[in-house]
Subunit: 330 residues, 2 copies
């Protein structure tokens, strides 16, 4: 930078200010500095900036999975917002247990990032406090309630939209295939299952406990759960799946059994996975990418000292496609 300063005939301080869009530089001077910098193909060293008390202009994004559609989609949104603001994205995939602990232990102390975006897993109060006391902003995204700024959908409401759709079609013997994430000690999106159990009482559904299946998150497990449901003495007339991936597995079991949707059984999922449109799956749509965008925006706002909404809830919408219909004998 010294070279640029000299070539522009100004001091390093002015150069720094010009390069960082800071106030207190005459427009003409600023332009001259910028021009010289361009000629020298000069770019500031982020390491030096950081060391000198500045920020890192890096954001850590913490996810429990990478190969699942939801997380990729959130990342797209986060990436777009961060890049637009000139921030870099550091990706951390942390599971539960040791590597998670070490993550929350080491990251803030090392001052590697200005903020943390936690996606899909709740950070404990201790972890949160650890971050904020180190001056690191934190925002969460994706199905959870947290004591810090959060953007998510209303999982409980989404579950209701799905169940109500089935109930309104006339179904009474409704099953749910719920998901449990083996990689998470707390399951953030219990709201979907809650909506189901509530509806069971409020809308006078068949309370048979065998109609509630809980399996790991995968199409295969969805298929197995569906097989178990079909094996019941009296199979359900409709199934609510915690996610589209589970629903897709269920659909396949139904087909293999020689049954048809929605003639023999209805299936509704939640998410609106890219393949769902093609598989004609009725589902509750959420805008995942937008959640990423918003969460990143909130984090950036916090970094800028602006007020943040404490909890933003994005709407969901029932998308009726071909896998749901009235039960057989109306």
């Amino acid at each position: 930078m010294a070279d640029v300063a000299r070539a522009a005939g100004v001091s390093m301080a002015t150069t720094s200010r010009a390069l960082n869009d800071q106030p207190g530089v005459a427009p003409a001077t600023r332009e001259r500095v910028l021009e010289v910098a361009r000629q020298h193909a000069y770019v500031v060293s982020p390491a030096a900036s950081t060391l000198s008390g500045g920020a890192t202009r890096r954001i850590a994004v913490v996810v429990p999975h990478l190969s699942r559609w939801f997380f990729g989609e959130v990342l797209e949104g986060i990436d777009a917002t961060l890049r637009g603001a000139g921030y870099d994205l550091m990706l951390y995939r942390v599971g539960e247990g040791a590597d998670r602990d070490s993550f929350f232990e080491l990251l803030p102390a090392r001052r590697k990032v200005d903020g943390v975006l936690v996606v899909g897993i709740p950070a404990s109060e201790a972890e949160q406090e650890r971050l904020t006391t180190m001056g690191v902003q934190i925002v969460a995204a994706g199905g959870q309630v947290a004591p810090y700024p959060t953007v998510s959908i209303d999982d409980h409401g989404a579950g209701r939209q799905a169940v109500n759709h089935l109930v309104n079609l006339g179904h009474r013997r409704i099953a749910m295939i719920d998901a449990i994430d083996p990689n998470a000690s707390h399951w953030p999106v219990a709201g979907r299952a809650l909506a189901f159990t509530e509806a069971r009482e409020e809308r006078d559904l068949d309370p048979d406990p065998e109609l509630f299946q809980r399996v790991p998150w995968s199409a295969r497990h969805g298929a197995e759960a569906m097989a178990a449901l079909l094996a019941l003495d009296e199979p359900p007339t409709a199934v609510l799946a915690h996610s589209d991936e589970l629903a897709i597995g269920a659909l396949h079991t139904i087909r293999r059994a020689g049954l048809d949707t929605p003639r023999d059984i209805s299936v509704v999922g939640i998410d609106d996975h890219p393949l769902s449109e093609e598989l004609d799956l009725t589902t509750v749509r959420q805008d995942v990418r937008e959640q990423g965008r918003l969460a990143a925006r909130m984090l950036l706002d916090g970094l800028a000292g602006l007020d943040q909404a404490p909890w933003t809830v994005l709407p969901t919408r029932l998308v009726i496609r071909g896998t749901t219909g009235r039960p057989r004998q109306g």
Copy 2:
């Protein structure tokens, strides 16, 4: 670090050496320094290390997409290897055009990372040169041939495995649904289509050009392409899809048309997408996560000054499931 040095009764130089596992420190001294550092919950400032001539211990991973299964899976592999080596992962999603240019322009000059892992998109020679001259290592992963270390599958071979399977079953009127990525100027995995066109000649297949469809990468487009194929005067008896996502779309069109696989038509994909097992799709399996692991390992080796394999090709394997069989009048 000064505090630690004082508390341990040694100089900063010794402290630095001890903390960085460098030679020239008496075991006893090293242990004492480490112990003091632990008590003080001290961690080195990466910014200061970098500034002082050290490396960043950061790797940039460049991908064209984030919400597609393949890229999430590669990232899982990369992340695992990088984390194990104590490196951080900076994620860059770059498309084509302006933001891509600016990426390759700015990243190396800013010395933000020690190396770059390019996934799924070929870097031009100019871009590659720009990186290496700035002292940044580069390794590629995923379906492409590049003038620098690369790990991929043999796309041509994978295509062959798929076509041969169909030919061996007795099919002669075989169609291909190829993928074109609207986000990429160069399409790296042309090998799959090449295998198809070659087999057409070598194995005496029906050369009807209408049997070759090329569509954007999505289940929906796969479905549309399949509809076009079914609308032909003489539909194919088998279809090779460039990827499982396209194949899944095709399968759905087939079902909607009241046809059955493999009775009326056979379908084979490439990838072994997580949903393929559940949908019983015959496919050619590739180990995507391993590609990520290996690519990261190669990059790390290069950084360490070790020899790198110039081009590593991972095996693929035909997985015969329920969507392929002999043609109707065998």
